[in-house]
Each structure stands twice: as C-alpha cells, then as structure tokens.
C-alpha cells in the first residue's frame, strides 16, 4: 500500500494499451495484404486483457493491475474475391483479403489512445502528489 503501487498499476495499463495500439497498427497496415491461400492470409489480431487478481487477493495491493493474456487472431471469414488478372490469384483465379475492418480498427485505436492518456494522467497526478509528500514539513 503505497504511492508506488499506483504508479505500477498505471504503467501496466499503459503497456496493455500500447500492445493494443500495436495490434491496431499492424491490422491497419495489413488491411490490404492479399494472398493466394486461406492460411497465408493475414487475420486481424486483438489482445485479450484480464485483471491480475493474484496480488489483489493476497492483499499486497488494493487495486488490480491489468495483464495481457495473449493476442488472438480473429475467426471472422476472409473476403474472397474473384480476380483472375491479379498476380497473387490462385489456380481458380481467387485472391484472399484479410478480415480487417478498418473503420472498427480506427475506433479501437481512438479508444486505446484515450485509455493510454488516462493512465498517463493517473501517473502524472501521482507524481505531483509524491513530490508534495517529499516536501512535507519543509519551508518556514
């Protein structure tokens, strides 16, 4: 139970959101990466968050940190397009496009950046309070 714990929690939040921003960037960048088979096509990736309950249940800290359990690939069906003139087309003339929804990704990105900002502000406020604690009793 100390102010350092608040900093810790805010930093886990920041790293979780930055992983989310990373996957979003990767999804948007690969939105148009076509390929010639179902398996080789890029699939949208999203991180899975979970609250870290272990430390909280051991009463080491009252607040709970956030954990990234892993990154999962979306199982939404891919877009298959008939385009025999495409250099990546398979034997039957089909190309496979990723299942990335760019609009969804943009909204996700905004949400992630706002959440990141919130965590930065938490850390900033904690820092200011900490500085005041250090100055306690000083001055005339």
């Amino acid at each position: 139970m100390s102010l350092f714990n608040v900093m810790d929690i805010a930093s886990t939040g920041m790293s979780a959101q930055s992983i989310r921003l990373n996957t979003t960037a990767s999804n948007v960048a690969n939105a148009n990466s076509v390929s010639s088979s179902y398996e080789d096509t890029y699939k949208a990736r999203h991180p899975v968050f979970a609250a870290e309950m272990q430390r909280a249940s051991q009463e080491q800290s009252a607040g709970s940190r956030v954990n990234v359990l892993g990154v999962v690939e979306s199982t939404k069906p891919l877009q298959i397009e008939y385009s025999p003139g495409h250099p990546m087309a398979d034997g039957d003339g089909y190309i496979y496009k990723p299942n990335v929804n760019v609009v969804e990704e943009m909204a996700d990105m905004m949400s992630a950046s706002k959440a990141y900002e919130t965590n930065v502000q938490v850390a900033d406020t904690t820092k200011r309070i900490f500085r005041n604690v250090l100055r306690l009793g000083q001055g005339s």
Binding site: A51, A62, T125
Partner: protein, 133 residues
C-alpha cells in the same frame, strides 16, 4: 504533559493512508477500463476511516511462509460500484468519466490532507523553537 506526536498527526495520517489506498483502487479501475468482465471497485471512505481510527483490523502473525494469511476486519471497506447503466456487452462496469473524476477528487483531498499535516508540523516547529527563527 508529554507531547504525543502520534496524537498530533494521528487523524490526518490515517486519512492520508485511506486516500492512498483509494487512489490505488481507482487507478486499478482505470487501468482495467477495457478488461472484459472487470467490475469497478471503490473504497467507502467513511467506513475505512472508522476502521482505521479504531484500528479494527487484526492480522494473524505468520511464522512460516507456508501459512495462510489470516486477517479480520470489522467491515470490508472495498466494495463494488453500482453501475448506472446496463451491461455494455462484455461485463465491464468501469465508467471512465466517473473514475477520472473520483481520482481527481481523491487527489485534491489528499493534497488538502497534506496541507493540514503541514500546518500541524509548522505549528509544532514553532512551539519547539519558541517562535524565534
């Protein structure tokens, strides 16, 4: 009459402790704003203050690291927040607006508590030095 620094600081010191704990809980809520299934928590300041003042918590001493930690509190201060809108779809009940404002409010009150403590220290310093600088 002996000077008791504990009595001098006592109340505000405990208030700051509870404020720190509350800050931690709210920071946890904000960090988990996008975690599916996470339920927002908060500390009931009044209850926490009461139990801190009368020291109504007991911990069992552990003499071996394999022992299970045992503690007893008169009232559990940590409570789940009542969401003011129905389930958003993933079971998360964190309302970032509310949490941010609560964090701000808590931070300001922390600083107010610190000012009180500062005043106490200043007063005591003056008393010790007899008002001469």
């Amino acid at each position: 009459m002996a000077i008791s620094l504990d009595k001098l600081m006592g109340f505000h010191h405990k208030a700051l402790q509870v404020r720190t704990e509350r800050m931690e809980v709210i920071a946890g809520n904000l960090a988990n704003a996008n975690t599916p299934g996470y339920k927002a928590k908060d500390i009931d300041f009044q209850q926490a203050m009461k139990s801190a003042q009368f020291n109504q918590s007991h911990n069992l001493t552990r003499t071996h690291e394999g022992h299970i930690k045992g503690s007893m509190k008169a009232v559990d201060d940590l409570q789940f927040r009542t969401p003011n809108q129905p389930d958003t779809g993933d079971g998360n009940t964190v309302d970032v607006q509310i949490e941010r404002n609560t964090f701000l409010d808590n931070g300001l009150r922390y600083q107010a508590g610190m000012e009180f403590l500062n005043g106490k220290i200043k007063g005591m310093k003056k008393a010790i030095s007899g008002g001469q600088q």
